[in-house]
Symmetry: C2
Subunit: 280 residues, 2 copies
C-alpha cells in the first residue's frame, strides 16, 4: 500500500505514522507557567540527539482535531525550563491519566497521583516515580507548520540527570530489565521492554565482517533465517578449520543453528564448511 | 545517582542517555552519494515530529571515539534525499550488520543481504524487507555541536510512505503484532515489541476523569497498584450505584481488581463503594 501525504487527511497520515514509527520512548514533561503553576504531560514524539552537548527534542504538536496547542508548549516558551521524566511500567496508567486535557492551571501531578520532587537547577519539579529524570533548559522552540498536526520542536539541553539507584547494575550502568521502560505504539497500544523481548545483538566487527556477498552459495540452501545468515556473515574471514561430518545433513544444520544461538560462530562455520566440503 | 554532563566524559554521558531514553525506534536509512553509490545504515536517535507536514528527524551524530561523521550524513548533505526504512524482528541482525563501518562507496545492501527496490519519487532505493518505508526529501541539516558525540539533525519531509500489506489489519490500519518492530536500548540491547508485552491503555476521558485527588481515601488502603488506582481515577464521576457486600473484604477487593483488568470500571466502583459504605 502506498500512502501519499497529499492525498490523505492529516489525521489519517498521523495514524499511519504513529503505527509505523514505533515503539517510541515517552517523555513525561513537567513545566511551569510564569505564575508558577505546574503542568505535567506525556509526549512520544521524542528522543535524544547527541550526548555532547546532551540534547533532547520532543514535539508538542498542534492538535489535528482543532489546531490548538498544549499547555506544555506555552510553559516551555514562557519559562524556558522543563524536566523530561522517563516512564516505567508501574506508572504507565498514571502517565496516561496525566495526558487528560484539564484546564490550564490544573496540576496533573495531583490528578495523576504522581509525586513532585524539587529540581536542583530549575524551577519545574521532577517526578519521583520516574526511574530517570533530566533537568533541562529550553534552547529553542521550532514550529514545523501552522495547521493541525504540525510539530513544534522543543529543543532542550540537559543540565542534570537523576537516576534512581534501583535501576543500576553492579557497574553503576542502567540495567534494561530494572528500567522496565514502556513505549508508545499506534492507537491505544503500548509496549513494555522487559522479560523475554529483550535481547542482545553484538555490535558488528569494527574490522568488517565478510558480508552476505562473501557467503558460500551453499549456505543459502540450508534453511537458515536471515538473522542466522547475518550472524554467519559477521565474521572477519572464513575459518581454516573444518569438522568432517559424522552426522547427517539435517542434524548438522540443526547443530549449527544451536551454535549460532549460543554465539559460537567459529564453531558453526567449522561444521558448515566440513559439510559443504563433504557434499562436493 | 546524579549525573552532571560537565563532570562526565562524552562517552559516559552517551552511555547513560542510551540506557535511559529507551526503547528507541530504528531508522534504517538508505542514501546515495553524488556518484550514485548506495549507502545503508541504522540510526536510533530518531522519531517523527508532526504529521502535517510529515517530518522525521534522525541524528547522524559525530562519533564520540574519533569525532568523525558517517557516510549517511555526507550523502544526505550532497543529494538531499533519503529513505527511512522501519525495522522488524526478522531482519534485525542484517540491520546490525549494515552498521559496520565499511569504506565509503561500499553498498551495505549487498553486505547485509537486504534487497534494493527502486523508490518512486527519489533516487535512493528502499529496503524490500522493511514493513514500512518513507521516501523523504532532506529539508535541513542542523549540527548541534562540533565535538565528538555532537548530534547532526537530519530533518526530512515525507514524500511517500510504503506499507507492506502483510502488516495491515482488516481496516487497513497497521497491526502492531504484524509490524513486529524492534527498538534499541542501551549497550547491545534491543527490545522486540510483540506478544505479551503489547498492551492497550484507553485514552483518558476527554471530559476529564476525577483524578487521584478525588478518590475516597479508603481506596488507598486496599492494596491497589498505582496503575489500578489510575484506572479508578479515570472516571467522570463516582457512580450512584453501590453493591451491598455479600463476600468478605479481601474477596471483594480481589474481585474489583479483576473487574479493573477487564475494564469494567463502573462495576468495580459499585462494589468498592458498597464495601466502603458497609465499613463506615
Amino acid at each position: 500500500m502506498i500512502v501519499d501525504p497529499h492525498e490523505i487527511s492529516a489525521a489519517g497520515m498521523q495514524r499511519y505514522m504513529l503505527g509505523a514509527v514505533a515503539p517510541r520512548p515517552i517523555a513525561l514533561v513537567s513545566s511551569i507557567d510564569s505564575n508558577g503553576n505546574v503542568n505535567l504531560s506525556p509526549y512520544s514524539n521524542f528522543n535524544f540527539f547527541g550526548a555532547n552537548p546532551p540534547i533532547m527534542i520532543f514535539s508538542a504538536s498542534r492538535r489535528v482535531r482543532n489546531n490548538t496547542t498544549k499547555h506544555t508548549l506555552e510553559n516551555a516558551s514562557e519559562t524556558r525550563e522543563v524536566v523530561v521524566n522517563i516512564v516505567s511500567f508501574d506508572m504507565v496508567e498514571q502517565v496516561s491519566l496525566s495526558s487528560t486535557e484539564y484546564p490550564k492551571g490544573t496540576n496533573e501531578f495531583i490528578k495523576s497521583g504522581l509525586t513532585e520532587v524539587p529540581s536542583l537547577k530549575i524551577r519545574p519539579p521532577r517526578v519521583e516515580e520516574s526511574p530517570v529524570s533530566f533537568e533541562c533548559k529550553v534552547n529553542d522552540i521550532v514550529p514545523l507548520g501552522t495547521e493541525g498536526g504540525a510539530g513544534n520542536l522543543v529543543i532542550c539541553k540537559v543540565l542534570l540527570m537523576h537516576i534512581n539507584d534501583k535501576i543500576l547494575d553492579q557497574d553503576h550502568m542502567i540495567d534494561p530489565y530494572k528500567l522496565d521502560a514502556v513505549a508508545r505504539m499506534g492507537g491505544n497500544w503500548y509496549s513494555r521492554a522487559n522479560g523475554e523481548v529483550l535481547f542482545e545483538v553484538e555490535k558488528p566487527l569494527a574490522d568488517q565482517g565478510i558480508g552476505f556477498d562473501q557467503l558460500p552459495e551453499e549456505v543459502f540452501e540450508m534453511g537458515f533465517s536471515k538473522n542466522q545468515l547475518a550472524r554467519l556473515a559477521n565474521i572477519r574471514q572464513l575459518p581454516d578449520q573444518k569438522v568432517h561430518p559424522v552426522k547427517n545433513r539435517a542434524e548438522i544444520i540443526e547443530m549449527v543453528k544451536i551454535m549460532l544461538r549460543e554465539k559460537d560462530t567459529l564453531g558453526a562455520w567449522a561444521h558448515l564448511l566440513g559439510l559443504i566440503d563433504a557434499e562436493k
